[in-house]
């Protein structure tokens, strides 16, 4: 692979890049100026459409298309930037915000102009303390320099931007959940339609985009749609931030054209550089927890929006890879995954609220050494009966729960069966009899267990 020149991360490591002065010296805000002075909003939308920029938040929906759904006769439009990065294994938004805050702000100006936004909100999760202060300082600086407020770059366009801090809820990363949370309500996703583009925040037309999507916008405006399309593959254009975590030599956030393989990400010299302590790969969750798992044999899967589906995964997700080492107990991995979704389900849809919780109970039982072979079939059956794809839920969280659990069980079924066969006789009865205390006392994954395991 030839040396790839970073786009989104080009300013990382530059001395003082968090200050407006240094960012401007490096050509910052020239794309915003160009966009506002030389183009109409409709032209910008056309450029973004032509660039085939797909949303980086997980679903991969084309951003330009999303913007063009806004009703043309609207008076007030809102732009929500989704910085509620709670997907386990993902931290590229954090890197973008703490390393190069002005890039995001410039993207907001252009995206705001293209959608004729009056107020932009950055919905940031509360655990980002340092990032909040970095971004707030950058925003204050930008306001002081007249980059936000009235008469931007001498045009009639005006834009307000505020940072809104969340309060620790995974489901607020879903776009309508985010909107509800911004309105000061419980972060319950809304039933769609109406889609946010028609009726979103405060019942006005609203665009919700991920931080990384917004950060791509200035570069597209500056260097053109064709340049953007020339990076990556045909259906998945542009640079993408990949993050890798787990027992690799160099965990971190790396930029690459869309479509590198998972094996490259783990073993490549520019990326993870292989495993530590002579550990081997058992599997890899390539795109944030919700997409599902790849086994060691499937690591050649290309990480773009389409190829991952061939391996039974939900999609690219957020491209946050978690490497599972060979010595990790797959039962504990399953229990951890199941606990996450049972903890984060918002509780609106019955099959998600109950389904995730029951899957956690079953996974916990297997992890406690009291599994049954039929439990594996039961888990798969539950995953097939929840989520948006069978058309049963309001948001995609149960799909996100179904894919990892189903792929873990199906792809590592032999290992589960081995564990279950090796269980001491009478273990099932023993655990079932002492259910409540047993779940709590055994030091599996620590903490809160379910009250019953049936």
């Amino acid at each position: 692979m030839s040396k790839y020149e970073p786009v989104l991360l080009k300013n990382v490591g530059v001395e003082g890049i968090r200050s407006l002065k240094v960012y401007r010296e490096r050509g910052g805000y020239s794309a915003a100026e160009k966009a506002l002075k030389n183009h109409t909003p409709e032209e910008i939308v056309e450029i973004i459409k032509a660039s085939n920029l797909r949303g980086r938040g997980g679903a991969g929906f084309p951003a330009g298309m999303k913007w063009s759904f806004l009703p043309p006769d609207r008076k007030i439009t809102y732009l929500c930037v989704n910085a509620d990065e709670s997907e386990p294994g993902t931290f590229c938004n954090r890197v973008l915000m703490e390393q190069d805050p002005h890039q995001l702000l410039e993207g907001i100006i252009i995206a705001g102009y293209a959608t004729r936004t009056t107020t932009a909100y950055i919905y940031m999760r509360v655990e980002f303390h340092e990032q909040f202060h970095v971004l707030q300082k950058a925003l204050d600086e930008a306001y002081a320099a007249g980059l936000f407020g009235k008469k931007l770059f001498g045009t009639d366009y005006q834009l307000e931007c505020h940072i809104h801090r969340g309060a620790g809820a995974y489901v607020c990363g879903e776009e309508t959940g985010l909107i509800e949370s911004l309105e000061g309500k419980r972060g319950w996703p809304r039933i769609k339609p109406p889609f946010p583009a028609i009726e979103g925040l405060f019942r006005r037309p609203t665009v919700v985009n991920n931080v990384e999507t917004i950060c791509c916008v200035p570069h597209i405006v500056e260097r053109g749609a064709n340049w953007f399309k020339s990076i990556g593959s045909e259906s998945s254009a542009g640079p993408k931030l990949y993050t890798i975590s787990g027992p690799v030599k160099r965990p971190g956030c790396y930029e690459a054209p869309l479509g590198i393989s998972c094996r490259d990400l783990i073993f490549g010299d520019e990326f993870g550089q292989g495993m530590i302590d002579g550990r081997k790969v058992k599997g890899c969750i390539p795109g944030g927890l919700s997409v599902g798992i790849l086994t060691e044999a499937e690591l050649d899967c290309k990480l773009d929006f389409d190829d991952v589906r061939k391996y039974g995964l939900l999609g690219l997700g957020t491209a946050g890879a978690i490497v599972i080492p060979h010595d990790a107990d797959i039962r504990q991995v399953l229990a951890n995954v199941a606990r996450f979704y049972s903890h984060e389900s918002c509780g609106q849809c019955t099959q998600c609220r109950e389904g995730t919780n029951w899957m956690y109970k079953i996974a916990m039982r297997i992890a406690l050494g009291a599994g049954r072979i039929s439990d594996l079939d039961l888990l798969v059956e539950v995953t097939r009966n929840m989520g948006m794809m069978p058309g049963l839920s309001i948001c995609g969280l149960p799909d996100g729960a179904a894919y990892p659990i189903r792929t873990i069980v199906e792809k590592f079924r032999d290992e589960f069966e081995q564990h279950i066969r090796r269980q001491e006789p009478g273990r099932v009865e023993h655990v079932l009899k002492r259910l409540n205390p047993a779940v709590y006392e055994l030091p599996i994954l620590g903490q809160r267990g379910p009250r019953w395991v049936a």
Binding site: F91, H129, A169, N336
Partner: protein, 210 residues
């Protein structure tokens, strides 16, 4: 579990007691109102401000927030009970949050949590007797490249080994980030806050049942 109901006992609020939100706090909440189209939208910032100032959001504080925002108190409780970041009973001066996501787990967060527990002598959701520390876990702190990680108030501690826990907890400045704070939110409450009050929320109830 955001959807689990908190306990149903109605909170006792002394109507005659003096207001617990200072004028400065009220003004700060009001300064957020022009940002949003509705008054209720300023609720999350308001809860952050009050929790930073008082250490927790008591039922009495919820009523006063409702006054400032001119919304029913039930809406304040409705929103607050959804989010895990707000608590309605006092916690320690420093809140230790250990990440337990999959990335951290494969890098040894179980041992880290165990080390924190034995160092502080408390269980999850507990508070030390001197009111200095509370312990929580979080699903993912988005610092997976530095797994296992833990958060003390605002400061993220990265790649923490179990044997380093004692040293980190003894450091008096272990909760302070180097970056200058924004004026928008206060520092977390100074000095130990009361630990004698009966804890009321569901997370504590789960702990008791264990």
């Amino acid at each position: 579990m955001a959807w689990q109901a908190v306990d149903r006992a109605s909170p006792v609020i002394d109507e005659k007691a003096p207001a617990i939100l200072s004028d400065a706090v009220r003004d700060k909440i009001r300064s957020f109102l022009p940002r949003y189209e509705t008054r209720r939208a300023a609720l999350l910032p308001a809860l952050h401000i009050v929790q930073d100032a008082l250490g927790h959001v008591s039922p009495r504080a919820m009523v006063e927030i409702a006054e400032v925002l001119e919304i029913p108190p039930s809406q304040v409780m409705d929103t607050m009970s959804f989010y895990t970041h707000f608590w309605d009973h006092p916690k320690g001066r420093k809140v230790v949050v250990v990440c337990r996501s999959l990335s951290c787990q494969v890098m040894g967060s179980d041992a880290l949590l165990q080390a924190v527990k034995s160092e502080l002598g408390i269980d999850e959701h507990g508070t030390t007797k001197d009111g200095q520390y509370s312990l929580l876990t979080e699903e993912c702190l988005a610092a997976c490249d530095h797994a296992p990680c833990m958060l003390i108030n605002e400061k993220m501690h990265k790649c923490v080994k179990p044997e380093q826990v004692g040293k980190i907890l003894k450091d008096a400045r272990n909760d302070q980030i180097a970056y200058p704070r924004s004026d928008l939110f206060d520092k977390p409450a100074e000095g130990p806050v009361a630990t004698t009050d009966l804890p009321r929320t569901s997370d504590v109830r789960e702990m008791k049942e264990s």
